[in-house]
């Protein structure tokens, strides 16, 4: 036998053996795909998030032996934040495992938009926690989308409320100049509608300023800001764009404490590269912040002490790592909820969708899970796929994130009509039949 034949034979035996092995254990596994990015311009932010997600699933498997005995089978696919690669990953993974993907976290607003069109056909729910299209919280139209914990309209509203509180009331915003520096993609454009609405209501001038992907070139934008001298700058960036913005703000001397980032612009990789320049910078919080809570003790005991963790222990408890944990936990709890109705076995995407829509996490349950202090209770319903609209504001003190505000609730008097109008427009454009949520149990 020649070497080449031997190698080929060996490889095919290995492949066949692997296929057999995975077929044997696949009977009682719930498959969850992970669309993440560990490479590219957004990797500094993508890596800690991906580690958090992977660690939580591993923890559930190690500590509890899966979700009620159903092991989680998790597979990552690197999208590089590119929409076409993300769709490719989704198509590759959606039918894996005994029942296909339970749900999908696109981790990119662009991919969320693309998958929104596919979800009803494939019957796989899309959980876009803290991102995605804001009107998708209307579950009567967007049956398969779940922007849990908050949309960009909620985020923008919470930041505006915080600014108003500092100024002494919403009426004090009159005549102020507010600039939005945003990533020129669906992600960055999402808050514009809400901010324009607020500008109309309170009489401040609102100027959106786009920054093109990947966002390392922002000199022109910040020159304009230096000339215009706005009162506040909101930042809707991601990846290297965030740290670049903060560095540029320092370079043109814009006060960092008048700068407010969205929750995707408020993590350690965003502020650390700017070093001293980031001190005083604010960002909204997707409820949770940095730090270690109950669940982290379990992570240490079951994963990190055994050398099974995917991050370094120092990084556990960073903002984006924690967000990965929260993201995975909401998914796992949704599956657990769905199991109460459909039985303790691997579930299909359609069954898990019911679980997400009926997810109800009380304070006691959150404490049990070790997420006390990170999250407020949330309850998802047919008409409200967001679950909760609470948020806080944090500030970088040069070494760590400090929570500087109380809890805010985004103002549904402003948001609800906008959500309804946008969802209605979407349903009409796509000729969708709208569910009647009052008839859903």
């Amino acid at each position: 036998m020649t070497l080449r034949k031997a190698v080929l034979l060996g490889a095919s035996i290995a492949a066949a053996g692997l296929a057999l092995a995975s077929a044997a254990q696949a009977q009682n596994e719930q498959f969850i795909p992970g669309l993440i990015y560990r490479t590219g311009a957004y990797a500094p932010n993508g890596i800690p998030f991906a580690n958090g997600v992977a660690d939580y699933y591993a923890l559930v498997n190690e500590r509890d032996g899966g979700i009620n005995g159903v092991k989680i089978l998790y597979e990552e696919c690197d999208t590089g934040y590119a929409t076409d690669r993300g769709v490719e990953c989704y198509e590759r993974l959606k039918n894996k495992g005994p029942t296909g993907a339970a749900y999908v976290n696109p981790l990119s607003t662009g991919i969320t938009f693309a998958l929104t069109e596919k979800a009803p056909i494939d019957k796989i729910p899309v959980i876009s926690m803290g991102y995605g299209r804001s009107e998708s919280r209307d579950g009567s139209v967007f049956q398969w989308n779940f922007p849990l914990l908050g949309t960009y309209w909620s985020a923008a509203d919470i930041i505006m409320q915080h600014i108003a509180l500092k100024e002494g009331g919403l009426d004090k915003l009159k005549g102020k100049k507010i600039v939005l520096v945003y990533h020129d993609s669906p992600y960055g454009k999402e808050p514009i509608a809400l901010l324009e609405q607020r500008a109309k209501m309170h009489g401040f001038t609102f100027t959106p300023m786009p920054v093109t992907h990947p966002g390392v070139e922002q000199k022109a934008t910040w020159l304009q800001i230096r000339q215009n001298r706005p009162d506040y700058v909101l930042l809707w960036g991601w990846g290297v764009m965030n740290s670049t913005s903060i560095k540029e703000a320092a370079a043109v001397g814009f006060p960092r404490d008048k700068m407010f980032g969205v929750w995707w612009s408020g993590a350690e990789p965003d502020v650390r590269p700017a070093e001293g320049g980031a001190k005083g910078y604010h960002s909204a919080m997707l409820q949770h912040g940095a730090g270690q809570f109950g669940v982290h003790a379990d992570l240490k005991k079951f994963l990190y002490d055994k050398g099974k963790g995917s991050a370094k222990w120092d990084e556990v408890g960073e903002v984006l790592y924690n967000r990965g944990l929260v993201n995975a936990m909401l998914g796992v709890e949704s599956i657990r909820k769905a199991q109460t109705k459909f039985g303790k076995k691997p579930l299909t995407g359609e069954q898990v969708r019911w679980g997400i829509e009926n997810l109800d996490l009380s304070a006691a349950r959150l404490k049990e899970l070790g997420f006390e202090g990170m999250l407020q209770p949330l309850k998802v319903t047919c008409s409200d796929h967001e679950g909760t609209r609470a948020g806080r504001v944090q500030q970088w003190d040069g070494a760590k994130w400090v929570v500087v505000s109380d809890w805010y609730q985004s103002d549904d008097k402003v948001l609800k009509p906008m959500v309804d109008a946008a969802a209605k427009k979407y349903a009409e454009e796509k000729k969708l039949t709208v569910r009647d949520c009052s008839k859903e149990s």
């Binding site: 490889a11 290995a14 492949a15 053996g17 692997l18 993440i36 560990r38 490479t39 990797a43 890596i47 991906a50 990552e76 696919c77 690197d78 590089g80 929409t83 076409d84 769709v87 490719e88 198509e91 590759r92 039918n95 607003t109 662009g110 938009f113 693309a114 929104t116 069109e117 596919k118 299209r133 804001s134 020129d184 993609s185 669906p186 992600y187 454009k189 999402e190 514009i192 509608a193 786009p210 992907h213 946008a422 454009e429 796509k430 000729k431």
Partner: protein, 355 residues
Amino acid sequence: MLYREAGQFKTTYVADQQIFPILQDRVFVLAVTVVAFLAVPMFASPYLYTEILIPFLILSLAAIGLNILVGYCGQVSLGTGGFMAVGAYAAYNLWLRVPEVNNLVVVFLFGGVMAAAVGILFGIPSLRIKGFYLAVATLASQFFLDWLFARVKWLTNYTPSGSVAVGNLSVFGWKIETPADRYLLILGLVVLATLVAKNLVRGHIGRSWMAIRDMDIAAEIIGFRPLRTKLTAFAVSSFFIGVAGAMWAFLRLGAWEPLAFDINRSFQILFMVIIGGLGSLLGSFLGAAFIVLMPILLNQLPGWFGIRMSTALLSHLEFMVFGAMIVFFLIVEPHGLARLWAVAKEKLRLWPFPH
């Protein structure tokens, strides 16, 4: 032995001027077409359709379009992504605003015609500026068009995020729903477009393009009008690219933002043309196959062999191996994959008795 044309006599001009004068080529191309139309739908999985065949076919069409301009007419363009965007958004606006026209073929043709018009507009400077300078001018068109679709809200129907979506598509009453429907529609259009392109480049129009490419002053002296010739190349090229852009948006993405047609798309298609082979339609297909499929293949290969590695390592390996392969192919055959194919054919003619 198998590939020998001894005994194939052409007794008429028609026989001599066929697209494929050699019997074996005719049989081969016919067989590939039959397999693509009949056999593939019998066994293909949705993944194969949506992630392999559909992107490959659409980008092949875009590469054919660019190859007409760069390979046949010698006008370097970096504005392909922009022209694709024109096709996509023109098609979208027709589809959205004139609901009576619920026929994708009409919608795509409209996208192509609008792209051709824009292509002519940006082709005008090509009369005065050449080579790298023209490349920079077309680069400007790319950025202008990017800006246009991101800023002019009417074009994206005032969606808050600038992302538009389409659904409920049909062609002559045939509802395009499953991946197989989309694949067959794309395949039909691409085959048709390739036939048109082939006949264009081997007819007098194509010859005038090649004359301009090889030496524009000489071509002008023997009677080709440079302005008209260059602008027809820009128009035809942009038409194909526009149709490809519309198909990419409607049949591949379904929901898209201007970012789908950014500068990277332009480079991607230019690389397809260069690696596939300048001035070769076959090269456009080979180049598209290489650029579209190779990264996906490299990304999945370790998994198929049961090798477990971290996602980050996998992605980095994909980049490195892919880059090395591009360098390898350009060193082995600077004229592209199509030239490798032609060399293989030459060898096959003499096989098994080379002299």
